[in-house]
Amino acid sequence: MALLETRGLTAFYGDFQALYGIDSILQPGETIAIIGANGAGKSTYLKAIAGLIGRPTESVWFDGLPIGGMPAAEIMKRGIALVPEGRRLFPSLTVEENLLIGRYGRSASGPWSLDRIYALFPAIKARRHSASTKLSGGEQQMTAIGRALISNPRVLLCDEISLGLAPITVRNLYDALPDVKAEGTSVVLVEQDIVQASKVSDRIYCFQEGRLSLSGRPAELSRDQIHFAYFGS
């Protein structure tokens, strides 16, 4: 049984349809990457799974149960955590408070504790009492990932964690992903960087203008196939 599945997932912003019938599967322990150009619907897909936008009740299934009608807080309590695009840390909270608030709704036992997150990202340990607004972009992203991990989620949704960061910072962040996978956390990674996504994922889904244009294992997909699915020409 798939851990997370979307069945004909649709999503709207007012009258504008952002997703058209997306079918996708995430198996336990797996990492999948969602790639596509700007406006392809990648972030909308994650928001729909996390419960931040309306979607049909039976279009999202988690652990064999439909979660499409549930509010975001309830979905988080069941074990799905989102690292949002742009980090969106809480500005009035310190770094450590930002991490601690991540387990407000779900204090499941598991490998991820405050100490373990500091071990994964030593750079933020030294800044733990600083205001989150004082951190560099990379440190903010580490805090955002830590905030999601501390609830010991079964599925981690990551929305463009490399966006706007220096290449060396991006490499550091991606170096941490194998540790997350090793703890059994399944990951859905939204990424524009095809090379980076291919390296860390077991399967790729490519979106184009709200529709699924390609899916498969990275090794089985040719450069031309991905290029066509990504850009449409």
Partner: protein, 289 residues
């Protein structure tokens, strides 16, 4: 010189009462951006509740307030849960209109139930007790208790906000409602708890309102105005700022009254306007959005 020192001290003590009026308003606005136009009438309503408890049970107002605190927490929680949460969203107008309507309903219901007669919470000898500070300056025990309670309330609110998991949830919800939901925060429940806390604070405010002066069902809007002024002078999002704002309004009023008794209320409003002109975000703001 002594009269000015006396005016300053009395103003600081009066500021404690205004800070109590304002603390609940500041808490609610800080977390859910709700401007509660019924806040002043709610204080008066709770003063009548305390009065009724003292009459029924034959206990003093302090004991009646202790009895009222948990009841008022539940009342605030229920009001938010059943009514005000339904009005919150992108538009500021629905909660304004609903709390304005609530204000009218409370005032007229109180007039119907208790008439327009002035009342007072009788606390016995403590009402007239005073402490001599120097040869010519004495301060009342009730005003001292009022300021002490205001400081205690601000300390307690800061403790909750900055030392507890609930406080983190309050601040996270105020910062970013959408992302707060991703932390598993049930924000309607957080709003209801916040309103329950605000009701506990306004219960303490009601106790001192009723012990320091006469009250009747129509004085709510005036208390709301002082509360607003204290919050804005102090700066949004800071409880210590709210206390400071209350003290500034109180001192301005007593200094104004010292110059001319007719200027008391006017002087408070002028102090508020001066701050608004030169520091529109208040003197001690914490919230930056």
């Amino acid at each position: 010189m002594v009269v000015w020192a006396d005016a300053l001290i009395q103003g600081i003590l009066l500021g404690g009462l205004y800070a109590l009026f304002a603390a609940g308003l500041s808490l609610i606005f800080g977390i859910m951006r709700l401007v509660n136009l019924a806040h002043g009438d709610l204080i008066v309503l709770v003063a009548f509740v305390i009065l009724t408890i003292t009459a029924w049970l034959g206990i003093d107002p302090f004991a009646a307030t202790l009895a009222a605190l948990p009841i008022m927490f539940l009342a605030g929680f229920a009001l938010q849960h059943l009514l005000l949460n339904r009005t919150l969203g992108g538009d500021l107008l629905p909660p304004l209109l609903v709390t304005f309507g609530l204000s009218i309903i409370i005032e007229n219901s109180l007039l119907e139930l208790f008439s327009a007669d002035s009342r007072r919470l009788g606390a016995g000898s403590i009402e007239t007790a005073s402490v001599l500070l120097s040869g010519d300056i004495a301060v009342g025990v009730v005003p001292l208790l009022t300021l002490g309670s205001a400081i205690a309330v601000v300390l307690a609110l800061n403790l909750i906000f900055y030392r507890t998991s609930l406080g983190r949830a309050f601040r996270a919800t105020a910062d970013d409602l959408e992302i707060a939901q991703l932390m598993g925060i049930d924000y309607p429940r957080i709003f209801s708890i916040a309103m329950g806390l605000a009701f506990m604070v306004l219960t303490i405010a009601a106790l001192y309102l009723g012990m320091r002066a006469n009250f009747d069902p129509t004085i709510g809007p005036g208390r709301l105005l002082y509360a607003f002024e204290a919050v804005i002078v102090g700066g949004l999002g800071s409880f210590w700022g709210t206390l400071g704002g209350g003290v500034i309004i109180g001192v301005a009023q007593t200094i104004g009254a010292q110059l001319n008794p007719e200027w008391q209320i006017l002087a408070g409003h002028i102090a508020f306007l001066v701050v608004l002109i030169f520091k529109p975000r208040g003197l001690f703001p914490r919230t930056m959005d």
